[in-house]
């Protein structure tokens, strides 16, 4: 597949994952909202026990938990998921770009030990790309500049 096609496929996967994450956020929130409203307006009563922690909650405890879960926990977890999807998208695009144009890595070096473990030039380019991506994504940001 040409580079453009590969990048478009990566983009489409990322957008699909973003949509799924947004649906999860929205409908989870709506379930909490529905529960809040049914307790407040229809007087639903219940209690739950978490057998792992032995904590027990009733419908009144759930009202306060629900607002915190919606306003803070679910929102921040979804933001982290969005960032993770974007990071993965960027990683995949850069990987494909560098594999298509490896000349930009011509000043990068592998040790003799690393090279001797590899079967051919394509594998060496792969290793250079992986090294570059590891440095970009996992190095301290202060070392980028």
């Amino acid at each position: 597949m040409a580079l453009r096609g590969e990048i478009e496929a990566v983009r489409d996967r990322a957008l699909s994952h973003l949509n799924a994450a947004h649906d999860y956020y929205t409908y989870s929130k709506e379930v909490w909202r529905t529960l809040q409203l049914v307790v407040q307006r229809d007087g639903l009563k219940f209690s739950h026990r978490n057998r792992a922690t032995n904590s027990t909650v009733n419908e009144q405890n759930f009202l306060s938990l629900a607002q915190r879960y919606i306003a803070w926990e679910l929102t921040s977890a979804t933001l982290q998921q969005f960032l993770s999807i974007f990071e993965n998208f960027l990683f995949e695009v850069l990987r494909r770009w560098l594999l298509a144009y490896p000349q930009s890595l011509s000043t990068r070096q592998l040790s003799g030990k690393e090279i001797l473990k590899l079967p051919d030039k394509a594998a060496i380019v792969d290793a250079l790309v992986e090294k570059e991506l590891r440095d970009v994504f996992y190095d301290r940001p202060a070392n980028w500049f």
Partner: protein, 80 residues
């Protein structure tokens, strides 16, 4: 302020630690939002609405933990 779907007073809930919030029918949201802006009360409204048992849609207006629930309640009570 009276909830147009229940004909009851709109109450600011302050249960929990995430900040106050209030439930408002969608057709009254615009009024509530403009009133809050006018009085410089920071808030955000849910981007979606819930309809229970086919009744009119309702949504939630959220306030941060720093917002005084009793002040918002006074503003609502004074609104007609």
């Amino acid at each position: 302020m009276i909830d147009s779907t229940t004909q009851e007073r709109i109450i600011v809930s302050s249960d929990g630690t995430a900040g106050p919030y209030l439930v408002v029918p969608l057709d009254q949201l615009e009024f509530v939002e403009s009133m809050l802006r006018e009085h410089q009360v920071p808030f955000w409204a849910d981007a979606d609405a819930v309809s229970l048992n086919g009744k009119p849609e309702i949504t939630v207006v959220n306030f941060g933990p720093g917002v005084d629930a009793s002040r918002v309640q006074q503003l609502l009570d004074a609104a007609r």
